[in-house]
């Protein structure tokens, strides 16, 4: 089913604004247009200062010069790692408008994983924040073909490359619908469609003030919190750390916030605690996503004149698939599919096609074979559609655990750490609820009795639990396990011998 829904969004803003929402095929066209239209307006402010659209254009051209000077050619794959900052945005735009594919690495990756990514994604170069020297040292010394350059390097201005909508633009990390981390390849056209989708459904689109607290290595942060603002001539203030969000808000007075629901809820609680609106008097919109948005949040914010927009999107769809409009929103739904979004519902599961969709997971033939059917991307999300064309998420994909802060944890990925122990035969990581209502991650393991017997271990449960806890200390913070259970029998299995996964939380 293809919904040409652009006309449905026309009524939510004035004609002039709506006609200004133009569709571009590439980041090069978008950036040229924004510089032409908003040249001296502020584009980005961070701890180092304020930069206009013209400044950004100049620095992006100089960074293309730095890439060229280091022998990097258009078509190369270029990793980028560093904290949210003007420099990160400049590096991203420099790489992509030079015709290279950016691989935006999450900043919390350790040095071995950075190296692993450089190999897995066949990176030709790695751009880094100077403070991340240690994180790239292993990749630099081990991967001899990798050109490493600081993002503060600059060269003579080089014009943008002749990219098309089909030119690969970025590889973004995702847990996907099946588990392990992988890279979704998105073209310029897909990224631009995602960017433009962020303009539909509300009145005040252009010339806003956005606050950026989400990581730019997450598609929601990159597309909705950076590229849509730059497309609309808005001004983005980059928070140094999330804890400074509210003190920064008091100074910058943003009109739009892009948040995960847990942070939106925290802002509400803080406002109550301090008896003042922590989001400032100018705040109009909160774009809320990456996890389910509780309808009560929408209602509470409406009372203080702030509209919360729940929507739905995936890394694989360049962020936005559907969104609620400003008026006539349905708080329980994830809104109306955006223009050009092709979709169908097969056995309750949402399947997608369209300009915003990824080309596939990089180097994952098996994952790709499972992810698509007849050219449709199978989201793994169960949905229903109402008579007005609003989508509702009925259930999340069966494996991924979405924590309340919006972070995705892939159980399969965490399990690989525990399964690496010779004393563990199999394991299952799942979300559990403690007696006090707190959601935690738990692991259950089946001991490999033969190995334990060989080692002469008598108290299997105690011995194994200690081993699991030791592994736990090495896990990234969002994967940390709180509850450990050593089983005395195997898991229940499907006919194909896959573990029947627990569903203790919904």
């Amino acid at each position: 089913m293809k919904f040409e829904t652009r006309h449905l969004f026309e009524k939510y803003t004035d004609k002039e604004t709506f006609d200004n929402i133009k569709e571009y095929a590439t980041l090069v066209e978008m950036l040229e247009s924004s510089v032409r239209r908003y040249g001296d307006d502020p584009a980005i402010t961070d701890a180092t200062g304020a930069y206009s659209y013209r400044d950004l254009d100049r620095d992006v051209a100089a960074f293309r010069g730095a890439l060229k000077a280091r022998g990097i050619l258009p078509g190369a794959r270029v990793g980028i790692i560093g904290a949210n900052s003007y420099q990160l945005v400049k590096a991203f735009l420099g790489v992509t408008t030079y015709g290279c594919t950016a691989v935006v690495l999450p900043m919390q990756l350790d040095d071995k994983t950075v190296f692993g990514c450089s190999m897995k994604f066949a990176m030709n170069a790695l751009v880094y924040h100077d403070a991340f020297e240690e994180k790239i040292a292993f990749a630099r010394s081990t991967n001899k073909n990798l050109v490493c350059l600081s993002w503060s390097e600059a060269g003579d201005a080089v014009p943008a490359a002749e990219v098309t909508g089909e030119t690969p633009c970025v590889i973004m990390f995702t847990g996907g619908t099946t588990g392990k981390s992988k890279g979704a390849l998105l073209t310029h056209r897909a990224i631009l469609q995602g960017t433009v989708n962020g303009c539909y459904g509300y009145k005040d689109v252009f010339g806003q003030r956005y606050m950026l607290a989400l990581p730019l290595s997450h598609i929601f942060g990159l597309v909705r919190n950076m590229l849509t603002p730059l497309y609309t001539g808005s001004h983005v203030f980059i928070c140094k750390t999330p804890k400074d969000l509210f003190s920064d808000i008091a100074v910058f007075k943003p009109t739009v916030l892009v948040l995960v629901p847990a942070l939106a809820e925290m802002a509400l609680n803080l406002s109550r605690k301090f008896n003042r609106n922590m989001l400032g008097a100018d705040m109009k919109y909160i774009i809320c996503g990456a996890a389910a948005v509780a309808p009560y949040l929408i209602e509470e914010y409406a009372k203080i004149g702030i509209t919360v927009f729940p929507g739905y999107g995936l890394t694989e769809s360049a962020n936005l698939v559907s969104g609620n409009p400003e008026q006539g929103a349905k708080p329980e739904s994830v809104g109306i599919p955006y223009p050009h979004q092709e979709f169908k519902i097969v056995d309750g599961e949402l399947w997608l096609k369209g300009l915003n969709m990824m080309e596939g997971y990089v180097g994952e033939a098996e994952e790709n074979a499972n992810a698509y059917e007849d050219g449709w991307f199978k989201t793994g999300d169960l949905v229903r559609l109402d008579e007005d064309g609003f989508l509702y998420i009925v259930g999340r994909s069966k494996d991924i655990i979405v924590l309340s802060n919006g972070e995705n944890v892939s159980p399969a990925e965490v399990e690989t750490y525990f399964n690496a122990l010779p004393t563990v035969q199999d394991s299952q990581v799942y979300e559990d609820v403690l007696e006090n209502g707190v959601h935690i991650l738990a692991v259950e393991v089946v001991p490999r009795i033969t190995e334990l017997a060989r080692m002469g271990v008598t108290n299997v449960a105690e011995y194994l639990e200690n081993q699991l806890k030791e592994v736990n200390t090495t896990l990234p913070s969002h994967m940390k396990i709180t509850k450990f259970i050593v089983r005395d029998s195997d898991f229940e299995r499907t006919p194909s011998m896959k573990i029947v996964r627990y569903k203790k939380c919904n």
């Binding site: 804890k243 609680n269 209502g437 959601h439």
Partner: protein, 85 residues
């Protein structure tokens, strides 16, 4: 500002109750040895909330913090004591 560890603990308890009022009993019963994640179920967002309110309440500035920064209530009190010296 001169506060005893007991006074800091009481302020901490007030703040944590405001994060999760459903858990009032457990928080009121907590001691310096209580663990923030395992015993009180503090999430990364809960930690952020705690830090923001502590900064405002004690007029101090924390370094960047994550959910793993403080394992127990005692560690938070140590940090605040050091900052308000």
């Amino acid at each position: 500002m001169q506060l005893s560890r007991k006074e800091i603990l009481e302020k901490l308890q007030d703040i944590m109750i405001s994060i999760n009022d459903n858990d009032r009993e457990r928080i009121e019963a907590c001691t310096e040895q209580t663990r923030l994640v395992e015993d009180l179920g503090l999430t990364s967002v809960g930690m952020l909330y705690l830090v923001i309110v502590l900064e405002e309440s004690f007029r101090i500035k924390f370094e960047d913090v994550g959910a793993a920064t403080f394992s127990t209530v005692a560690k938070v009190i140590d940090y605040i004591e050091e900052k308000i010296k």
